[in-house]
Symmetry: C2
Subunit: 366 residues, 2 copies
Amino acid sequence: MADTISFARGAPSLDIVDVDGLSAAATRAFTNDPGGATAYGTSVGYVPLRRWIAEQHGVDVANVLVTNGSMQADAFLFATLVSPGDAVVAEKPTYDRTLLNLRGLGADVRMVDLEQDGIDTAQLRELLGSGIDCKLAHVIPNFQNPAGYTLSLAKRRELLELAHEHGFTIFEDDPYRHIRFSGEDIPTMLEMDEHDTVVYASSFSKTVCPGIRVGYLVGPQALIAQIQKLATNTYISPNMVAQAIVYEFCVSGGIDASIATVKAALADRVAKLDAALQEHLPEARYTPPEGGYFMWVELPEGTDVDALFTAANERGVAFVKGTDFLLEGGQNTLRLAYSGVTADQIDEGIRRLADAYRAIAPAPVA
Amino acid sequence: MADTISFARGAPSLDIVDVDGLSAAATRAFTNDPGGATAYGTSVGYVPLRRWIAEQHGVDVANVLVTNGSMQADAFLFATLVSPGDAVVAEKPTYDRTLLNLRGLGADVRMVDLEQDGIDTAQLRELLGSGIDCKLAHVIPNFQNPAGYTLSLAKRRELLELAHEHGFTIFEDDPYRHIRFSGEDIPTMLEMDEHDTVVYASSFSKTVCPGIRVGYLVGPQALIAQIQKLATNTYISPNMVAQAIVYEFCVSGGIDASIATVKAALADRVAKLDAALQEHLPEARYTPPEGGYFMWVELPEGTDVDALFTAANERGVAFVKGTDFLLEGGQNTLRLAYSGVTADQIDEGIRRLADAYRAIAPAPVA
């Protein structure tokens, strides 16, 4: 069988990573700041990178904590804010690891439907009105994982109002914002927040590369100080070498070139994915995303995604089942990550997927 | 006042870090394995480095987990093995963060006296015989932090017997082993273990540099697999870029040259520290260590280390109070880290310390 074509992993293919730029940034990091790159540093992160991030967001450095990837930032935040039994709102569907970690902490996870323009705020309002004591709402505002949808400006405003009114924290988990290849950028809730209700997380995994493992939190200073203590006790300090490399990559403008490369490539892959689905799998319903890594696909009601997964695997194509992003339901859904497949693999991958679908789909009514 | 001379931090001074070697290793990492260095990789660590570590210890790769520094490895191990109320043995004195983290988990920490040849095994045997249900014993076998003492071969054997007999895990926390500048290397308990009672941790912080944040665990495969799941959920994967750099640094032989540099420098610093103490502070009692970063100093009974700390600070010299490494006692003790001071700072630093001691010491009886 041919090599598997994987639409499973939310990671960039190597051809859109600026390896030479990173190598040059590493050389500069060791030359320009050998002491800073090689010493323990501090638990808040490499000081120049922390300052650069603070400037990007227009906040004080005391609002920023740089971590070993943004999952680690999530883990610190959840450990700090969430106790067993606490109600936590998540989007339905949402990133599987977030669900797993919240449930691991004993949170009472309440999933609220995700619509094309983001979380169903009417449903959320009703849930909050039902008397749950919501501690935290986890939201991926741009090009959501797994759905690829983006939260509208109106809903961002509404979420901020609800958070203020009901006293919960919005966790704005936003690694994909800069990978917008069409449409207009929407301000972050962090920018619009007037009541310290938002904690924002992002990462350089989607704009530099995942192996560099640099993410960060922006939030209220008292909370950041509390998480900093947890970080100190967990690992003394995050990776100074990696953060110094990211810093050099950012200030040289390498990150802007890298983002431009990623955006151009992913726009092309979405177009090819759309064309391939129209040609080979016209039963699929989806909205081509305006950015990010993921597209959510619904197949006709009654499709058994477990059977499709197995049949696809036999034909050399991989994806993640929609059921993995939900506590229940989604048996006819799947996530296609187009970030890790090169443009020339897409048509063949979707041909195989369609072939798998034909093999497991019920015969159409004559 | 002159710049503070710090004997406080267990970190190498920049002059003994091979910055050029690291920079060259970074270039090779991006050239030789761009995909491996920049992708997410796996939660067990960068595969070639994991294999290299397994070979160094003569174990299977499934026994090894590479982490973001060895404190993170400790945190994973403690989270996996220690529940609130569990009895955990630690050396008296021991590394302050270990104490803090064990107490943070609600462990019932039982400290057992540390002697010049390591933990007092007779006292430990008595404690175990008293009926405590000991889960874990934390031991720093070589050039202990803070004392600088090394566990003898006979006591290593005895500890292994006790662990087997009483069913506890020995956590052999061994970052300093390779920094031996005199005397004979002693086999690790990991090597001598016949009953899967040892989990071993080490780090590249003392042999490469701390800012690279690469540590690791070696232990029973089932336990490593369990910790791997925790690692995946915490941060997906550790830093691939940093681990690829360490790998290239190791296989090129850079690490051997780096260890030779560190050993030569630290042997010289210990000699200078010894000479300076003899000259300026003959009241100090200590054993010059045969390796590692730290020397434990006892001052005459009745010395108030808090007052000494303040007086020293006023005179531009820093150290860590012995009381920080103990749950109680140690008011006349301190830790001098000689890794972060250059040779030419030592005499002046000890002169200031002696000056501080004269200012706070009770007048000698005439």
